[in-house]
Protein backbone atom coordinates (compact mmCIF):
# COMPACT_ATOMS: atom_id res chain seq x y z
CA UNK A 1 0.00 0.00 0.00
CA UNK A 2 1.37 3.42 -0.87
CA UNK A 3 1.75 5.86 1.93
CA UNK A 4 0.00 9.11 2.76
CA UNK A 5 3.53 10.21 3.59
CA UNK A 6 6.65 8.93 1.86
CA UNK A 7 10.17 10.15 2.47
CA UNK A 8 12.72 8.81 0.00
CA UNK A 9 16.39 9.36 0.67
CA UNK A 10 15.70 12.64 2.45
CA UNK A 11 18.73 14.58 3.69
CA UNK A 12 18.95 18.02 5.23
CA UNK A 13 22.19 19.88 5.78
CA UNK A 14 23.01 23.20 7.37
CA UNK A 15 26.12 25.28 7.10
CA UNK A 16 27.91 25.81 10.38
CA UNK A 17 30.62 28.26 9.35
CA UNK A 18 32.43 26.41 6.59
CA UNK A 19 31.24 23.00 7.80
CA UNK A 20 28.26 21.18 6.38
CA UNK A 21 26.26 19.62 9.19
CA UNK A 22 23.75 16.85 8.54
CA UNK A 23 20.44 17.21 10.39
CA UNK A 24 19.00 14.28 8.40
CA UNK A 25 20.83 11.72 6.33
CA UNK A 26 19.12 9.58 3.67
CA UNK A 27 15.93 8.95 5.59
CA UNK A 28 13.33 6.59 4.12
CA UNK A 29 9.91 6.43 5.74
CA UNK A 30 6.45 5.37 4.58
CA UNK A 31 3.30 5.97 6.62
CA UNK A 32 0.20 4.24 5.28
CA UNK A 33 -3.38 5.51 5.78
CA UNK A 34 -4.74 4.56 9.19
CA UNK A 35 -1.28 4.05 10.69
CA UNK A 36 0.41 5.80 13.58
CA UNK A 37 4.20 5.90 13.41
CA UNK A 38 6.33 7.18 16.28
CA UNK A 39 9.77 8.60 15.63
CA UNK A 40 11.91 8.23 18.72
CA UNK A 41 15.28 9.75 19.40
CA UNK A 42 17.24 11.98 21.77
CA UNK A 43 17.19 15.75 21.43
CA UNK A 44 19.28 16.88 18.51
CA UNK A 45 18.78 13.58 16.67
CA UNK A 46 16.90 15.24 13.81
CA UNK A 47 13.39 14.07 14.67
CA UNK A 48 11.83 17.55 14.69
CA UNK A 49 13.53 18.37 11.37
CA UNK A 50 12.01 15.21 9.96
CA UNK A 51 8.59 16.44 11.01
CA UNK A 52 8.96 19.94 9.55
CA UNK A 53 10.17 18.46 6.25
CA UNK A 54 7.30 15.94 6.20
CA UNK A 55 4.93 18.84 6.83
CA UNK A 56 6.31 20.97 3.97
CA UNK A 57 7.45 23.66 6.41
CA UNK A 58 11.04 23.10 5.31
CA UNK A 59 12.53 21.72 2.10
CA UNK A 60 15.07 18.91 2.09
CA UNK A 61 18.57 19.36 0.69
CA UNK A 62 18.25 16.04 -1.14
CA UNK A 63 15.61 13.35 -1.58
CA UNK A 64 11.91 13.35 -2.20
CA UNK A 65 8.86 13.99 -0.01
CA UNK A 66 5.50 12.70 -1.20
CA UNK A 67 2.31 13.69 0.61
CA UNK A 68 -1.03 12.25 -0.47
CA UNK A 69 0.53 11.03 -3.71
CA UNK A 70 2.08 14.38 -4.67
CA UNK A 71 5.78 15.08 -4.75
CA UNK A 72 6.41 18.34 -2.89
CA UNK A 73 9.49 19.26 -4.93
CA UNK A 74 7.52 19.25 -8.19
CA UNK A 75 4.86 21.61 -6.83
CA UNK A 76 4.71 25.38 -7.05
CA UNK A 77 5.02 27.34 -3.85
CA UNK A 78 1.28 28.13 -3.92
CA UNK A 79 0.29 24.51 -4.50
CA UNK A 80 2.53 23.45 -1.67
CA UNK A 81 0.89 25.99 0.66
CA UNK A 82 -2.55 24.77 -0.38
CA UNK A 83 -1.59 21.14 0.25
CA UNK A 84 -0.20 22.15 3.63
CA UNK A 85 -3.47 23.88 4.57
CA UNK A 86 -5.79 21.17 3.28
CA UNK A 87 -4.03 17.87 3.84
CA UNK A 88 -1.68 18.31 6.76
CA UNK A 89 -2.45 19.02 10.41
CA UNK A 90 0.08 19.85 13.12
CA UNK A 91 0.00 19.39 16.87
CA UNK A 92 2.74 20.98 18.96
CA UNK A 93 3.73 20.55 22.58
CA UNK A 94 2.67 24.09 23.47
CA UNK A 95 -0.68 23.82 21.61
CA UNK A 96 -0.12 26.98 19.48
CA UNK A 97 -3.75 28.11 19.77
CA UNK A 98 -4.54 31.73 18.97
CA UNK A 99 -5.38 33.38 22.29
CA UNK A 100 -7.85 35.90 20.82
CA UNK A 101 -10.06 33.22 19.26
CA UNK A 102 -12.49 30.85 20.97
CA UNK A 103 -11.99 27.07 20.80
CA UNK A 104 -14.37 26.68 17.87
CA UNK A 105 -12.87 29.66 16.04
CA UNK A 106 -9.42 28.13 16.42
CA UNK A 107 -10.64 24.82 14.99
CA UNK A 108 -12.54 26.48 12.12
CA UNK A 109 -9.70 28.83 11.15
CA UNK A 110 -7.79 26.53 8.75
CA UNK A 111 -11.00 25.98 6.77
CA UNK A 112 -11.77 29.71 6.63
CA UNK A 113 -8.22 30.43 5.46
CA UNK A 114 -8.87 27.93 2.71
CA UNK A 115 -11.98 29.81 1.52
CA UNK A 116 -14.72 27.79 3.22
CA UNK A 117 -17.60 30.04 4.31
CA UNK A 118 -17.61 31.12 7.96
CA UNK A 119 -20.84 29.25 8.69
CA UNK A 120 -19.68 25.96 7.20
CA UNK A 121 -16.26 26.25 8.83
CA UNK A 122 -17.87 26.87 12.22
CA UNK A 123 -20.19 23.88 11.81
CA UNK A 124 -17.22 21.66 10.96
CA UNK A 125 -15.32 23.08 13.94
CA UNK A 126 -18.19 22.27 16.28
CA UNK A 127 -18.40 18.73 14.93
CA UNK A 128 -14.67 18.29 15.53
CA UNK A 129 -14.92 19.54 19.12
CA UNK A 130 -17.93 17.32 19.72
CA UNK A 131 -15.99 14.25 18.60
CA UNK A 132 -13.31 15.03 21.16
CA UNK A 133 -15.84 15.62 23.93
CA UNK A 134 -15.42 19.40 23.99
CA UNK A 135 -18.76 20.62 22.60
CA UNK A 136 -19.62 22.56 25.75
CA UNK A 137 -16.23 24.30 25.69
CA UNK A 138 -16.61 25.62 22.14
CA UNK A 139 -17.02 29.29 23.05
CA UNK A 140 -14.26 29.39 25.67
CA UNK A 141 -10.96 31.10 24.99
CA UNK A 142 -7.72 29.10 25.31
CA UNK A 143 -6.84 30.65 28.68
CA UNK A 144 -10.18 29.41 30.04
CA UNK A 145 -9.28 25.80 29.17
CA UNK A 146 -7.09 23.25 30.98
CA UNK A 147 -3.90 21.97 29.34
CA UNK A 148 -5.57 18.73 28.33
CA UNK A 149 -8.53 20.59 26.82
CA UNK A 150 -6.23 22.92 24.89
CA UNK A 151 -4.41 19.98 23.37
CA UNK A 152 -7.73 18.40 22.40
CA UNK A 153 -8.68 21.66 20.66
CA UNK A 154 -5.31 21.60 18.88
CA UNK A 155 -6.00 18.03 17.71
CA UNK A 156 -9.49 18.99 16.53
CA UNK A 157 -7.93 21.85 14.55
CA UNK A 158 -5.26 19.55 13.11
CA UNK A 159 -7.77 17.05 11.75
CA UNK A 160 -10.62 19.37 10.69
CA UNK A 161 -11.78 19.10 7.06
CA UNK A 162 -10.17 16.60 4.72
CA UNK A 163 -6.80 16.25 6.40
CA UNK A 164 -4.85 13.17 5.42
CA UNK A 165 -1.76 13.52 7.57
CA UNK A 166 -1.39 14.43 11.24
CA UNK A 167 2.06 15.47 12.48
CA UNK A 168 2.66 15.84 16.20
CA UNK A 169 5.78 17.01 18.04
CA UNK A 170 5.84 15.79 21.67
CA UNK A 171 2.05 16.27 21.84
CA UNK A 172 1.74 15.16 25.46
CA UNK A 173 4.86 16.88 26.73
CA UNK A 174 3.22 19.33 29.10
CA UNK A 175 0.38 17.05 30.21
CA UNK A 176 0.01 14.67 33.14
CA UNK A 177 -0.20 10.96 32.39
CA UNK A 178 -4.02 10.76 32.31
CA UNK A 179 -4.33 13.66 29.85
CA UNK A 180 -1.35 12.38 27.86
CA UNK A 181 -3.06 9.02 27.50
CA UNK A 182 -6.30 10.72 26.43
CA UNK A 183 -4.42 12.65 23.74
CA UNK A 184 -2.82 9.46 22.38
CA UNK A 185 -6.20 7.71 22.35
CA UNK A 186 -7.58 10.60 20.30
CA UNK A 187 -4.72 10.50 17.82
CA UNK A 188 -5.30 6.74 17.45
CA UNK A 189 -9.02 7.34 16.95
CA UNK A 190 -8.30 9.82 14.14
CA UNK A 191 -6.02 7.22 12.53
CA UNK A 192 -8.91 4.74 12.60
CA UNK A 193 -10.77 7.25 10.38
CA UNK A 194 -8.03 6.76 7.78
CA UNK A 195 -5.57 9.53 8.59
CA UNK A 196 -1.87 8.75 8.74
CA UNK A 197 -0.04 10.14 11.77
CA UNK A 198 3.56 10.72 12.78
CA UNK A 199 4.42 11.50 16.39
CA UNK A 200 7.97 12.45 17.30
CA UNK A 201 8.98 11.94 20.90
CA UNK A 202 11.75 10.87 23.25
CA UNK A 203 9.17 9.19 25.50
CA UNK A 204 8.87 5.40 25.19
CA UNK A 205 5.43 5.30 26.83
CA UNK A 206 4.09 7.73 24.26
CA UNK A 207 5.82 5.87 21.39
CA UNK A 208 4.33 2.58 22.55
CA UNK A 209 0.88 3.70 21.33
CA UNK A 210 2.18 3.60 17.74
CA UNK A 211 1.78 0.83 15.20
CA UNK A 212 5.47 1.19 14.38
CA UNK A 213 8.34 2.93 16.11
CA UNK A 214 11.28 4.31 14.11
CA UNK A 215 14.49 5.10 15.99
CA UNK A 216 16.55 8.04 14.81
CA UNK A 217 20.05 8.96 15.89
CA UNK A 218 22.40 11.60 14.48
CA UNK A 219 19.98 12.22 11.61
CA UNK A 220 19.80 8.59 10.50
CA UNK A 221 17.09 6.00 10.95
CA UNK A 222 19.02 3.35 12.84
CA UNK A 223 16.29 0.87 13.69
CA UNK A 224 12.54 0.21 13.73
CA UNK A 225 10.22 -2.07 15.64
CA UNK A 226 8.67 -4.99 13.85
CA UNK A 227 4.95 -4.86 13.08
CA UNK A 228 3.00 -4.40 16.26
CA UNK A 229 1.93 -7.75 17.64
CA UNK A 230 -1.08 -8.43 19.79
CA UNK A 231 -1.02 -8.63 23.57
CA UNK A 232 -1.88 -12.34 23.79
CA UNK A 233 1.73 -13.40 24.23
CA UNK A 234 1.86 -11.38 27.47
CA UNK A 235 -0.86 -13.42 29.10
CA UNK A 236 0.56 -16.88 28.58
CA UNK A 237 3.59 -16.42 30.83
CA UNK A 238 4.55 -18.52 33.80
CA UNK A 239 2.05 -18.62 36.66
CA UNK A 240 2.74 -16.24 39.54
CA UNK A 241 4.95 -17.55 42.29
Amino acid sequence: MSGVLELRGVSKTYLDGADEVYALREVDLVVEPGKLVAVMGPSGSGKSTLLTIAGALETPTAGEVIVAGQSLSSMSRDDRSRLRRRAIGYVFQNYNLLPGLTAVENVAMPLELDGVSAGKARAAGLRGLEELGLAERATRFPDQLSGGERQRVAIARAVVGDRRLLLADEPTGALDSANGEAVMRMILATCKRGLAAVVVTHDAQLASWADRVVFIRDGRVVDRTSARSGPDSLLTGEPAR
Binding site: D223, R224, P231, L235, A240
Partner: protein, 194 residues
Amino acid sequence: MSIRHALLALLSEGPKYGLQLREEFEARTGEVWPLNVGQVYTTLQRLERDGLVESDDDADLGPQKDFRITADGAEELAGWLRTPPDLGSPPRDELVIKVLVAIRLPGVDVHEVIQAHRRYLVELMQQWTRLKEEEADVDLGLALAVDAELYRLDAVVQWLDSADGRLKRAGLEPPPPAKAPAAPLIRRRAGVRR
Protein backbone atom coordinates in the same frame (compact mmCIF):
# COMPACT_ATOMS: atom_id res chain seq x y z
CA MET B 1 4.30 -11.57 44.06
CA SER B 2 2.95 -12.85 47.38
CA ILE B 3 0.09 -15.21 46.70
CA ARG B 4 -0.08 -15.82 50.44
CA HIS B 5 -0.99 -12.23 51.18
CA ALA B 6 -3.21 -11.85 48.14
CA LEU B 7 -5.28 -14.79 49.42
CA LEU B 8 -5.42 -13.30 52.92
CA ALA B 9 -6.69 -10.05 51.36
CA LEU B 10 -9.45 -11.88 49.51
CA LEU B 11 -10.44 -13.81 52.65
CA SER B 12 -10.62 -10.61 54.68
CA GLU B 13 -13.81 -9.87 52.71
CA GLY B 14 -15.45 -13.05 54.02
CA PRO B 15 -15.19 -16.86 53.81
CA LYS B 16 -14.36 -18.25 50.37
CA TYR B 17 -13.46 -21.61 48.81
CA GLY B 18 -10.37 -22.48 46.75
CA LEU B 19 -11.66 -22.20 43.21
CA GLN B 20 -13.41 -18.96 44.02
CA LEU B 21 -10.15 -17.54 45.44
CA ARG B 22 -8.32 -18.40 42.25
CA GLU B 23 -10.96 -16.73 40.06
CA GLU B 24 -11.06 -13.61 42.20
CA PHE B 25 -7.25 -13.37 42.33
CA GLU B 26 -7.03 -13.47 38.55
CA ALA B 27 -9.90 -11.01 38.10
CA ARG B 28 -8.40 -8.48 40.54
CA THR B 29 -4.96 -8.59 38.91
CA GLY B 30 -6.43 -8.04 35.47
CA GLU B 31 -5.60 -11.68 34.62
CA VAL B 32 -2.02 -10.59 34.23
CA TRP B 33 -0.85 -13.15 36.78
CA PRO B 34 -2.28 -16.58 35.99
CA LEU B 35 -2.50 -18.85 39.00
CA ASN B 36 -3.09 -22.59 39.04
CA VAL B 37 -5.49 -24.13 41.46
CA GLY B 38 -2.77 -26.37 42.95
CA GLN B 39 -0.87 -23.27 44.08
CA VAL B 40 -4.00 -21.96 45.75
CA TYR B 41 -4.57 -25.15 47.78
CA THR B 42 -0.90 -25.53 48.74
CA THR B 43 -0.84 -21.94 49.93
CA LEU B 44 -4.09 -22.36 51.85
CA GLN B 45 -2.69 -25.44 53.62
CA ARG B 46 0.38 -23.48 54.70
CA LEU B 47 -1.71 -20.54 55.87
CA GLU B 48 -3.84 -22.94 57.90
CA ARG B 49 -0.76 -24.60 59.38
CA ASP B 50 0.51 -21.16 60.44
CA GLY B 51 -2.83 -20.27 62.02
CA LEU B 52 -3.54 -17.42 59.61
CA VAL B 53 -6.66 -19.02 58.12
CA GLU B 54 -9.06 -21.70 59.32
CA SER B 55 -11.46 -23.98 57.49
CA ASP B 56 -14.52 -26.07 58.25
CA ASP B 57 -13.36 -28.67 60.67
CA ASP B 58 -14.93 -31.78 59.18
CA ALA B 59 -13.00 -34.14 56.96
CA ASP B 60 -14.85 -33.00 53.88
CA LEU B 61 -12.08 -31.70 51.65
CA GLY B 62 -14.31 -31.07 48.67
CA PRO B 63 -13.79 -28.03 46.47
CA GLN B 64 -16.58 -26.15 48.27
CA LYS B 65 -14.75 -26.14 51.61
CA ASP B 66 -14.77 -22.60 53.01
CA PHE B 67 -11.69 -20.84 54.36
CA ARG B 68 -11.81 -17.91 56.80
CA ILE B 69 -9.13 -15.45 57.87
CA THR B 70 -8.14 -15.54 61.55
CA ALA B 71 -7.25 -12.57 63.78
CA ASP B 72 -3.56 -13.46 63.33
CA GLY B 73 -4.13 -13.55 59.57
CA ALA B 74 -5.69 -10.07 59.60
CA GLU B 75 -2.74 -8.78 61.60
CA GLU B 76 -0.27 -10.41 59.18
CA LEU B 77 -2.09 -8.82 56.22
CA ALA B 78 -2.12 -5.33 57.80
CA GLY B 79 1.62 -5.60 58.50
CA TRP B 80 2.43 -6.82 54.96
CA LEU B 81 0.51 -3.98 53.27
CA ARG B 82 2.70 -1.43 55.01
CA THR B 83 6.02 -3.25 54.69
CA PRO B 84 8.07 -1.78 51.85
CA PRO B 85 9.12 -4.32 49.23
CA ASP B 86 12.85 -4.97 49.00
CA LEU B 87 13.88 -2.09 46.74
CA GLY B 88 16.78 -1.01 48.92
CA SER B 89 19.42 -3.41 47.65
CA PRO B 90 19.47 -3.49 43.87
CA PRO B 91 19.29 -6.86 42.18
CA ARG B 92 22.17 -7.77 39.89
CA ASP B 93 20.71 -6.51 36.67
CA GLU B 94 21.59 -8.61 33.65
CA LEU B 95 21.05 -5.70 31.26
CA VAL B 96 23.43 -3.43 33.18
CA ILE B 97 26.04 -6.18 33.15
CA LYS B 98 25.64 -6.67 29.38
CA VAL B 99 26.20 -2.97 28.72
CA LEU B 100 29.20 -2.87 31.08
CA VAL B 101 30.68 -5.89 29.29
CA ALA B 102 29.98 -4.40 25.84
CA ILE B 103 31.96 -1.23 26.65
CA ARG B 104 35.17 -3.20 27.08
CA LEU B 105 34.72 -5.78 24.36
CA PRO B 106 36.79 -5.18 21.22
CA GLY B 107 34.81 -5.01 17.99
CA VAL B 108 31.49 -4.43 19.78
CA ASP B 109 29.51 -1.22 19.22
CA VAL B 110 27.94 -0.55 22.60
CA HIS B 111 25.38 1.83 21.04
CA GLU B 112 24.20 -0.97 18.80
CA VAL B 113 23.88 -3.29 21.81
CA ILE B 114 21.88 -0.59 23.64
CA GLN B 115 19.62 -0.07 20.64
CA ALA B 116 18.89 -3.81 20.36
CA HIS B 117 17.63 -3.79 23.95
CA ARG B 118 15.78 -0.50 23.49
CA ARG B 119 13.90 -1.89 20.50
CA TYR B 120 12.97 -5.05 22.36
CA LEU B 121 11.69 -3.06 25.35
CA VAL B 122 9.65 -0.68 23.18
CA GLU B 123 8.13 -3.64 21.32
CA LEU B 124 7.14 -5.11 24.68
CA MET B 125 5.67 -1.76 25.74
CA GLN B 126 3.68 -1.64 22.49
CA GLN B 127 2.13 -4.98 23.41
CA TRP B 128 1.22 -3.81 26.92
CA THR B 129 -0.19 -0.54 25.57
CA ARG B 130 -2.31 -2.42 23.07
CA LEU B 131 -3.73 -4.44 25.95
CA LYS B 132 -4.60 -1.20 27.71
CA GLU B 133 -6.03 0.29 24.53
CA GLU B 134 -8.32 -2.67 23.99
CA GLU B 135 -9.48 -3.59 27.44
CA ALA B 136 -8.38 -1.28 30.20
CA ASP B 137 -11.39 1.01 29.93
CA VAL B 138 -13.56 -1.69 31.40
CA ASP B 139 -11.08 -3.31 33.78
CA LEU B 140 -9.52 -1.14 36.45
CA GLY B 141 -7.32 -3.93 37.83
CA LEU B 142 -5.87 -4.59 34.40
CA ALA B 143 -5.23 -0.88 33.78
CA LEU B 144 -3.29 -0.61 37.05
CA ALA B 145 -1.27 -3.75 36.38
CA VAL B 146 -0.46 -2.68 32.81
CA ASP B 147 0.57 0.81 33.96
CA ALA B 148 2.93 -0.73 36.53
CA GLU B 149 4.54 -2.82 33.81
CA LEU B 150 4.80 0.17 31.43
CA TYR B 151 6.45 2.36 34.06
CA ARG B 152 8.89 -0.43 34.92
CA LEU B 153 9.87 -0.97 31.27
CA ASP B 154 9.97 2.79 30.65
CA ALA B 155 12.47 3.18 33.49
CA VAL B 156 14.73 0.64 31.79
CA VAL B 157 14.46 2.50 28.46
CA GLN B 158 15.30 5.75 30.25
CA TRP B 159 18.37 4.14 31.76
CA LEU B 160 19.43 2.95 28.27
CA ASP B 161 18.89 6.48 26.87
CA SER B 162 20.93 7.97 29.65
CA ALA B 163 23.70 5.35 29.22
CA ASP B 164 23.71 6.00 25.47
CA GLY B 165 24.15 9.76 26.02
CA ARG B 166 26.77 9.30 28.72
CA LEU B 167 28.80 6.93 26.53
CA LYS B 168 28.51 9.27 23.55
CA ARG B 169 29.81 12.19 25.60
CA ALA B 170 32.54 10.04 27.09
CA GLY B 171 33.51 8.96 23.59
CA LEU B 172 34.47 12.54 22.68
CA GLU B 173 37.52 12.20 24.85
CA PRO B 174 39.34 8.91 25.38
CA PRO B 175 38.43 7.40 28.74
CA PRO B 176 41.17 7.53 31.37
CA PRO B 177 43.29 4.37 31.59
CA ALA B 178 41.57 1.68 33.59
CA LYS B 179 42.63 1.51 37.21
CA ALA B 180 41.70 -1.23 39.62
CA PRO B 181 37.97 -1.77 39.05
CA ALA B 182 35.79 0.15 41.45
CA ALA B 183 32.73 -2.01 40.94
CA PRO B 184 33.39 -4.63 43.66
CA LEU B 185 33.73 -1.89 46.27
CA ILE B 186 30.46 -0.29 45.25
CA ARG B 187 28.78 -3.64 45.18
CA ARG B 188 29.89 -4.47 48.70
CA ARG B 189 28.75 -1.11 50.00
CA ALA B 190 25.38 -1.31 48.34
CA GLY B 191 24.83 -4.86 49.55
CA VAL B 192 23.71 -6.19 46.18
CA ARG B 193 21.42 -9.19 46.36
CA ARG B 194 22.81 -12.38 44.95
